[in-house]
């Protein structure tokens, strides 16, 4: 793993949506959508943010693309601080961070042709292309596997998978370095999901893209993730290399999440221990004190109810926020010792932050 600075470094990112009531619009509370989230992404890699609905993963993605302004915390992109830039200051940076949206039926303007939609980035950013916008758009359509002749068609004339490809073409237009994909396949048929994931992987290889993929389905991101971060109720609970997280997760919540992934093989299914979580996710308006997961955790003790567990490196490149992490499933400790430990630049590990 190279020890270069990460492309994106998010520290203590927090978003509280105020709840206002009454004639004077007094603030009576806040939805603590994202609370103190810290992670980083190396250039050319893929970080996946996974978690249940409402855990703040989309909010995190929207803060990174600055569709939302963080309440506090810092977003360092290629050494530049994005968290409180104004709309005007952000405009040039928009070229470098793009977003792929969840719903291909609402992310394309129904009144615009494909040519207008995919050409909009050039127009908005005032980018001149050597052979004209139309040619550039057709090249992009070809890149994502669409017929460039469909330049003058409207979104309603395409299927869901094709629409998502149009959205991907639009996000690639300005040659961004970081792409935040918000549940890029959750609205698609399973047969199309694999195609779109493969397309994203091919594009990453071809164009050297860095991805943050947001997903609620662990199996969807397994194939493409270098790092996986698990969120619960606005907190990051575990972050590890993709393979590590799937085979040797340490946080009880991650274990429960993984045990819910369907297994097609019936004989293996019977052997698996299925963890069923009791109750519902608590309200983010009034999250539980201490560890936010303690209300549903079978290992919870007094310390969980009072103290917030810090995110600590429990194994190389594997961080967990839990007072009672699960035992490693990988019995042989030497395998871990052999893992390269040359990452973790000075100063970051001390405060419980991590590098990816």
């Amino acid at each position: 793993m190279p020890t270069t600075d990460p492309l994106l470094k998010v520290t203590g990112l927090t978003k509280h949506f105020p709840i206002r009531k009454g004639l004077l619009q007094r603030q009576v509370g806040a939805v603590q959508a994202v609370d103190d989230v810290t992670f980083s992404v190396q250039s050319g890699q893929t970080l996946s943010l996974v978690g249940e609905s409402g855990c703040g993963k989309t909010t995190t993605g929207r803060m990174v693309t600055r569709l939302l302004e963080p309440t506090s915390g810092s977003i360092l992109f290629d050494g530049r601080e994005l968290s409180h830039l104004s709309v005007g200051q952000l405009r040039p940076l928009r070229r470098e961070i793009q977003m792929i949206f969840q719903d291909p039926y609402s992310s394309l303007n129904p009144r615009h042709t494909v040519g207008t939609i995919v050409g909009a980035p050039f127009e908005i950013q005032g980018v001149k292309t050597p052979q004209g916008t139309k040619r550039a758009v057709q090249d992009l359509l070809e890149l994502v596997g669409l017929n460039p002749e469909h330049y003058n068609r409207y979104p309603h004339e395409f299927s869901g998978g094709q629409r998502q490809r149009i959205g991907i073409a639009r996000s690639l237009a300005l040659k961004p370095r970081l792409i935040v994909a918000d549940e890029p396949v959750s609205a698609l048929d399973v047969s199309i999901q694999a195609q779109v994931i493969n397309l994203l992987e091919d594009l990453q290889e071809e164009l050297g893209l860095t991805y943050i993929v947001i997903a609620h389905d662990l199996s969807v991101v397994r194939q493409m993730s270098d790092r996986v971060a698990v969120m619960y109720l606005g907190n990051l609970v575990e972050i590890a290399d993709g393979h590590d997280l799937y085979t040797d997760s340490r946080h009880p919540y991650t274990r429960a999440l993984l045990s819910a992934v369907p297994i097609p093989d019936t004989s293996r299914r019977e052997k698996r221990e299925r963890i069923r979580l009791e109750g519902d996710v608590p309200s983010p308006i009034d999250p539980p004190p201490g560890c936010r997961f303690h209300t549903r955790c079978w290992k919870a003790t007094d310390v969980c109810r009072t103290q917030v567990p810090p995110l600590v490196e429990i194994a190389p490149r594997h961080e967990v926020a839990c007072h009672h992490p699960e035992d490693s499933l990988v019995a042989a400790a030497p395998a871990q010792a052999a893992a390269p430990v040359e990452d973790a630049p000075s100063g970051t590990a001390a405060s419980g932050t991590m590098t990816a």
């Binding site: 709309v87 992310s107 909009a120 908005i124 469909h150 004339e157 299927s159 094709q162 048929d189």
Partner: protein
């Protein structure tokens, strides 16, 4: 489900048939507006309404020509056609004096040609209704889209303003205003001033009807992801409003302005009927109805301007309903 492995875009619609031999490769998509237009063309009732409307507009434009060939000048007195000896001052002859010369008969007392007056009346009615609607649409769409997109206190101020305007006793205000407006104001005089005044009164107080609809539509459009997509590309607010939202609002604007026109026709007629609209001798349908009230024994006098108002309003409403169905077939 059979999905081609590479999923190369396959046309879902029958667009192939529109490809002429002169456009061998260019694939043209069909916009939602084009689809709505095709749907509208199949709607016979709406097309009948549209035909009547086009006819009415042509009549209004070519009123002098029509009157020249089929009638007499609208302000010309023909007292020889009025029965002065009997004391009723009604027109001579059966059916209010209807003849080939006077297609709708003549007025009591003065004997003016009713046909010419109805034809000329269409000009005033349509002119005021169109201009007032245009004013309402411009104010209503602009404020509605701003209120819906901006939200917060901007939305609160504009929405409350709409409530105030809707609660305003418009008719009473119009009557009162007509009483105080002098014959000369703003460099205008006579009926020109009256027309401008009516356009402003009607247009200025009807904008909340459009404004509310546009605000509601904008509220739902604002949450669509294509707006976020534009923002994440760095689009400025005016561009988002004009290029992303407005094209999606054309349909409701068109539909509701088509439905607002007939209510403005009626309102103009009502004001003229009450004597605060267009002043005689300029013919207007409402004014003619008002004159006719005293001659209730001669129904033709009331019938023709009444029918003109009736058909105009009906045609606009049928066309507007058809337009709405064409743009939003689910809302039927």
């Amino acid at each position: 489900m059979t999905v081609p492995p590479t999923e190369v875009a396959t046309p879902q619609t029958d667009a192939l048939e529109t490809e002429g031999p002169d456009s061998p490769k260019a694939i043209e998509g069909r916009s939602l507006t084009q689809i709505a237009w095709r749907r509208l063309k199949r709607d016979k009732v709406a097309m009948a309404g549209a035909a009547v409307l086009i006819f009415l507009i042509l009549v209004a434009i070519f009123a002098p020509l029509i009157v020249k060939f089929l009638g007499h000048p609208p302000d010309e007195f023909h007292q020889d056609l009025v029965d002065t000896e009997m004391g009723t001052l009604g027109p001579k002859g059966a059916w209010g004096g209807i003849s080939w010369d006077y297609l709708f008969g003549v007025e009591p007392v003065n004997g003016r040609d009713l046909f010419s007056r109805v034809v000329y009346g269409s000009r005033i009615s349509l002119l005021i209704a169109f201009l007032a609607t245009l004013l309402s649409v411009i104010i209503g769409s602009t404020l509605g889209i701003i209120a819906g997109y901006a939200g917060g206190w901007v939305d609160a101020v504009i929405s409350r303003a709409m409530d105030v305007f809707l609660a305003f006793p418009l008719l009473v205000f119009a009557i009162a205003l007509a009483g105080v407006v002098p014959d000369n104001a703003f460099g205008l005089q006579g009926n020109t001033l009256r027309v401008v005044m009516l356009v402003f009164i009607i247009g200025f107080f009807n904008w909340p009807y459009i404004g509310r609809i546009i605000r509601g539509q904008t509220l739902s459009l604002r949450e669509r992801e294509f707006v976020d997509a534009a923002r994440s590309l760095g689009a400025r607010t005016p561009r988002i409003l004009a290029r992303e939202l407005l094209p999606n609002l054309v349909a409701p604007i068109l539909v509701y302005s088509t439905l607002l026109i007939p209510s403005n026709v009626l309102f103009e007629a009502a004001l003229s009927f009450l004597g605060v609209g267009i002043q005689p001798p300029t013919p207007s349908w409402g004014g003619m109805l008002s004159d006719a009230v005293t001659f209730y024994t001669m129904p033709h006098f009331m019938l023709f301007p009444g029918l003109a108002i009736f058909f105009t309003v009906l045609a606009f409403n049928l066309f507007g309903d058809g337009l709405r169905d064409a743009f939003d077939p689910r809302g039927r």
